[in-house]
Amino acid sequence: MNRGGIAFLVMVLPLLLLAACDRERGSSPPPRKGPGMPAYGDAIVAGSIGEPSTLIPILATDSASSDISGLVYNGLVRYDKNLQLEGDLAERWDISRDGLTITFHLRRGVTWHDGGEFTSRDVLYTYRVTIDPKTPTAYADSFRQVLKAEAPDDYTFRVTYARPFAPALESWGMPVLPAHLLEGKDITKSPLSRNPVGTGPYIFRQWVAGQRVVLESNPNYYEGRPYIGRYIYKIIPDSSTMYMELKAGGIDQMGISPIQYQRQTGTAKFASKFNKYRYPAAAYTYLAYNLRNPLFADKRVRQALTSAINKKEIIHGVLLGMGQVAHGPFKPGTWAYNPDVRDFDYNPQRAQALLAEAGWRDRNRDGILVKNGKPFQFTILTNQGNDQRLKSAVIIQYRLKAIGIDVKIRVIEWASFLSQFIDKGNFDAVLLAWTITPDPDIFDIWHSSKTGPKEFNFIRYMNPEVDRLLEQGRSTFDMDERKRCYFRLQEIMAEDQPYTFLYVPDALPVVSARFRGIEPAPAGIGHNFIKWYVPKEEQVY
């Protein structure tokens, strides 16, 4: 479930994706009934707003796809519950003294869901297809750093880097694909995108478009058969409907909204049926400006926009206080986070002054700023089904209107949002969220070489110094130097404001109380999913 080094566009807070837990604030009510005996069987139904796009992980950029493929596939390494890298399909690894060569010793006896054996050939294939220029993937870059990849025998895989590459180990958390089913075929047309075959704890069974994805436990899983027999990913595009389903017992797990957390889940009845958890999510929500648009070309304009937005008010009103102000792309409290960086706090006077400096004035006294005869107007796009984002957009619209900017809001269904607007660069501003990966390498999102279609720098942010810092930050193993790079990076971004970084929300997952064995940890609650169980007498499916 914990995917190394992969950033996702988040639709809603992901259920199982890693999310570090601040112990002070994280709350985990003790189970009210006894723990019961671990038993096989039963099923868990998880609710999701969005539908996966493809189940070939290197082609997917959304969190719904990664929720599923996280259970179907394994990488060579993964993050454990304390966000430390541990072996997954690699039993162990050796790193050469210069840090340039990693030798993975693969686990023996791991089988694909179709019975084939997992070997180094699969890893080599995954590497090759990812760096293939014909493969439309956003994740090629870290593998392109590899100078040489070789598989000396079936259970050894060795990679050599030309230069030190800090996220190297983490990047092998990428799910390994089955070579025997894909080699020599066009991956974009593979039936595996809707019918995946992996090595993971759950075997893909069924995908009913627009309704559900069904997985079944893998009896031959190398870590042992998972207790819960089936995992059903139910697609319900409306969060209040989903919540009613939860209460009616139709689903067992979902991320709830702050309002639901605070006002609707406090009853004894709810507490007897569900456990709720709270910890800062590993994700930040932002308002991104399309820098191809001349409207946002001037840094002062972007600074003014941020100054005109009251982030605290958004957190108070939308998250009911359950979140933190974001000043940059890292999570507060992590080693790469620069606590001294403060971007522009709420100050409408400064916003107006900055806009006036940039030449925007209310010339015709209609309340809307004008420059060169053009009114300051733009549209914020956001995806359907995420109420918090829509509300944030409405608040931003209100605040910007106060300083003379006319904002329209448009809500678009997720799939066409990505394909028609994000991928084509066809937008003014978008309100979205990124996951925050444990390694601070954010090259893919901010480097000027990552502005192509389907790549993550979709706003076309280009700053030579940022490019240099991103390159430098990933090409050393020296933690202090990396820290310096990322600290400086945050200073530049706070000045540049390519995004208005809005907030880091708290993840608020709810799981039916019949599931036991859940251990909240810095990585959230999903890290030991295969150890969750339902005592025999409480099983319902």
Binding site: I259, G317, Q384, Q397, Y398, I409
Partner: protein
């Protein structure tokens, strides 16, 4: 003078219908309130107060506040503007198109009539609501598009009614007389047939307004109607449905507004029909 006599009869009959009068008064009141909205509401329709979200009804906020701390009463009143505007513009478009097609079709009959009526049949085959959904998905969200689309998909009933009236009217002696006097078709249609064919249109338009208001509310409820922050009854309802368990005021008031308004239009529509129907004698 015959004209004013009929008007008097109509008015007397309408006035005697208490339900219809109540509906009419409600509509008048609604118009006044929405016209005077800026003067009678204590808050702005999109004025946020994030430190007072989801407050129950109180002296400061008679209908409570919504999830962004906006005053629900204010938004319901401003929502009335949208609903009335949508109702009238959409029905205006529908009536204009429907009347012209009905007149032409009924007056000329023959092939033209056949073709036009088949077009009507085709249009009626579409599930209108889904047609609207599909069309709106391609357009930018805007209240004008919504009004136009509702209008463009709602004229068939009017066309059929008008055609039926015209079919019988054009055979009347007075039409024959006018034609013998050398009047052109346009004059006959618009001057002599149209005024007599209008009463069923009036009824159908009144009921149509209610329908259009419902359609707009449904579209806004689904999140593809009037874009935020403009309040409309439908989108206030949508915002409220998530909190229905503990913030009933968010769904109750816009819901009541829709119910009462639609009911008022139906009552008036029925009242007009009864008053115009010579067969209904009390």
């Amino acid at each position: 003078m015959r004209n004013s006599f009929f008007r008097q009869v109509f008015w007397n009959r309408f006035r005697a219908n208490r339900f219809a009068m109540a509906g009419a008064l409600l509509i008048v009141a609604l118009f006044l309130v929405s016209l005077l909205a800026p003067f009678i509401t204590p808050y702005g329709p999109d004025e946020l107060d994030l430190y007072h979200v989801l407050m129950p009804p109180s002296a400061a906020h008679w209908f409570g506040t919504d999830d962004l701390g906006r005053d629900v009463l204010t938004r319901v009143i401003y929502g009335a503007r949208i609903s009335l505007k949508v109702g009238f513009v959409a029905v205006g478009i529908a009536v204009a198109i429907g009347t012209v097609i009905g007149l032409v079709s009924g007056y000329y009959s023959g092939h033209l009539d056949n073709i036009l009526m088949r077009v009507v049949d085709i249009m009626l085959c579409f599930p209108t609501f889904f047609l609207i959904l599909a069309v709106i998905a391609f357009l930018e969200q805007s209240i004008w598009y919504i009004m136009i689309i509702i209008g463009l998909t709602g004229w068939m009933g009017v066309a059929r009614l008008v055609r039926a009236e015209v079919l019988s009217l054009r055979e009347r002696d007075y039409v024959m007389a006018v034609r013998a006097l050398g009047a052109c078709d346009a004059r006959i249609i618009f001057r002599h047939i149209l005024p007599n064919a209008l009463s069923p249109v009036l009824v159908s338009a009144t009921l149509g307004v209610a329908g259009a208001i419902l359609t707009e509310s449904a579209l806004s409820f689904l999140g593809i109607g009037v874009p935020p922050p403009t309040p409309s009854w439908g989108n206030i309802l949508t915002a409220g449905k998530e909190y229905i368990e503990f913030a009933w005021w968010l769904t109750l008031y816009p819901g009541l507004a829709i119910t009462v308004t639609v009911l008022a239009y139906y009552l008036v529509g029925e009242g007009i029909r009864d008053a115009l129907d010579p067969r209904l004698q009390r």
